[in-house]
């Protein structure tokens, strides 16, 4: 029984969606075997950005590793900084002052907004609508200005320290943040009107790459990808850390509103809704932040007792986990970085079977991967 493909003597095409490509969100190489436009197999090939961060971690002290965490997920650098700070604090039994925790939450949520803005913008740009990208960049510029006020940097902040944050918030920062929130909240509705519910956009994303809840858990998906499949799991609510227990917000879960639960559209909408929730968290944090010191008394070079911890935090791209092994010396013995994007790529090959080439772009965009996190 010959298939139509065999009868026509067609051949599969091996296309290289190479490391340089406008839509792979970094230097990711996808080897596509396609039958015309339909993908038979899409194998991701990573490692173009591997810098050996884990090996470097074994040669620098705990405090010296902070700038390297910026380069882990540079679009959510504050989150990675704070994740490392929390991990080392748990390892060494240090407690940061409350004002420092509030500051960390404020900058983490601001960074979550700006990271989701980039995810939203680059996703719509991949789909062909170039305009929303520039609107989201305009919003992100204001967040960058806020960050510049705190630490002087717009992308790689190196702001958190083991035991707190490096410097207190400057005068006027909280007012400017409130102004930004008032300006930004109606923009989310504007984006929904412009592109989120646009028929063409919905048709590109609905029912594409459906991942059920059990599959998502088994394949290790975390963050918005997991919540897009209907699993209501958010580390800020289910394994709360820092001052999140005091803050009230919803966990955004995909609902299959246009298409099937767990398709690309759900993952996209989870990110849009998370921006709204971050605004809520920020308003509460700004209202409740106490006065006080911002850095605990931690010796410059400290030797934590021999211990092993695994600490995970909710970063915009999933769960960033640090498995740190200390052997009592100033340098870590092992520093394993569990990155959300890396484990998300596990499911890529399975979920792209039978899709069209245009859908591969949609899948990569909906997973919101970032290569430095994958490659470390």
């Amino acid at each position: 029984m010959t298939t139509p493909a065999e009868a026509l003597h067609t051949q599969e095409m091996l296309i290289n969606m190479g490391p340089q490509h406008p839509s792979t969100h970094g230097v990711l190489r996808v080897l596509l075997r396609t039958d015309g436009e339909v993908v038979v197999n899409a194998r991701p090939d990573m490692g173009y950005l591997h810098r050996g961060l884990e090996k470097i971690g074994e040669r620098v002290t705990y405090a010296q590793f902070m700038p390297f965490t910026d380069r882990l997920d540079y679009l959510a650098a504050m989150n990675c900084n704070c994740a490392w700070a929390w991990a080392v604090e748990k390892l060494a039994g240090i407690e940061a002052p409350e004002r420092a925790e509030y500051i960390r939450v404020i900058v983490c949520e601001l960074n979550r907004i700006s990271s989701h803005l980039i995810a939203f913008g680059s996703f719509t740009a991949d789909m062909g609508a170039f305009t929303p990208f520039l609107y989201s960049i305009r919003e992100r510029e204001r967040v960058n200005d806020l960050f510049e006020m705190t630490c002087g940097n717009r992308l790689t902040y190196n702001y958190a320290r083991v035991g707190g944050v490096s410097a207190d918030l400057p005068r006027g920062f909280l007012e400017k943040t409130k102004e930004f929130l008032d300006y930004f909240e109606p923009k989310i509705d504007e984006y929904n009107k412009l592109i989120s519910y646009n028929k063409i956009f919905v048709h590109r994303l609905a029912n594409v790459a459906v991942i059920t809840g059990e599959e998502a858990v088994a394949y290790g998906l975390t963050g918005p990808n997991l919540r897009g499949s209907g699993v209501a799991f958010d580390l800020r609510k289910d394994e709360p850390y820092s001052v999140y227990p005091k803050l009230d917000f919803q966990v955004c879960v995909g609902s299959g509103e246009r298409g099937t639960l767990g398709d690309c559209f759900d993952r996209y909408m989870v990110r849009i809704n998370e921006m709204r929730e971050s605004v809520k968290i920020l308003r509460q944090a700004i209202a409740r932040i106490p006065e006080g010191p911002v850095l605990a008394k931690v010796p410059r070079v400290f030797k934590p007792a021999a211990a092993e911890v695994y600490v995970r935090t909710e970063c915009p791209r999933g769960e960033t986990g640090f498995y740190v092994i200390s052997d009592g010396t100033v340098l870590p013995n092992r520093l394993k970085i569990r990155a959300g994007s890396f484990v998300t790529m596990n499911i890529f090959e399975k979920v792209t079977r039978g899709l069209m080439i245009a859908d591969i772009v949609a899948v990569i965009g909906s997973f919101d991967i970032i290569l430095p996190e994958i490659d470390r």
Binding site: A218, D238, V309, N346
Partner: protein, 156 residues
Amino acid sequence: MDPKALFDALKTRFAGAVPELQAEGFRPAFVVVSPDALLDVARFLRDDPGLRFDSLMCLSGVDYKERFAVAYHLYSMTHRHAIGLKVFLPRENPSVASVDSVWPAANFMERETFDLFGIDFPGSKDMRRILLPEDWEGHPLRKDYKYPEFYHGIKI
């Protein structure tokens, strides 16, 4: 679930294959498992209704100077508890059965461990280097790794 209780439950079921519980200074606590019994323990932990460890948080290789270890961090979405498994391996030909039939999330993480430590995972559906080029020699995260001078004629 309390790690001690879990350890006792495992000890009753897999006598001898779970020699040790590392609890002090380990968060989450680690149950040391012998390499041959790992796959059975893993399946039991995932399928037992009281435990239901359906999510593999992290899989990492560790180089303690005398021996290797593979550390598994497990989490249960249903019961919201966590535990760790640790398998100690000798430095020569370290290998332990792959768990990607139990948790598909393990695949890339095992490939990374193989790539950076040289620990083999027989039974894995895809065991290739993942971060380093296919023809790289050596396993960088080992403590005795010597940095090569040249790669394909390029001085590095």
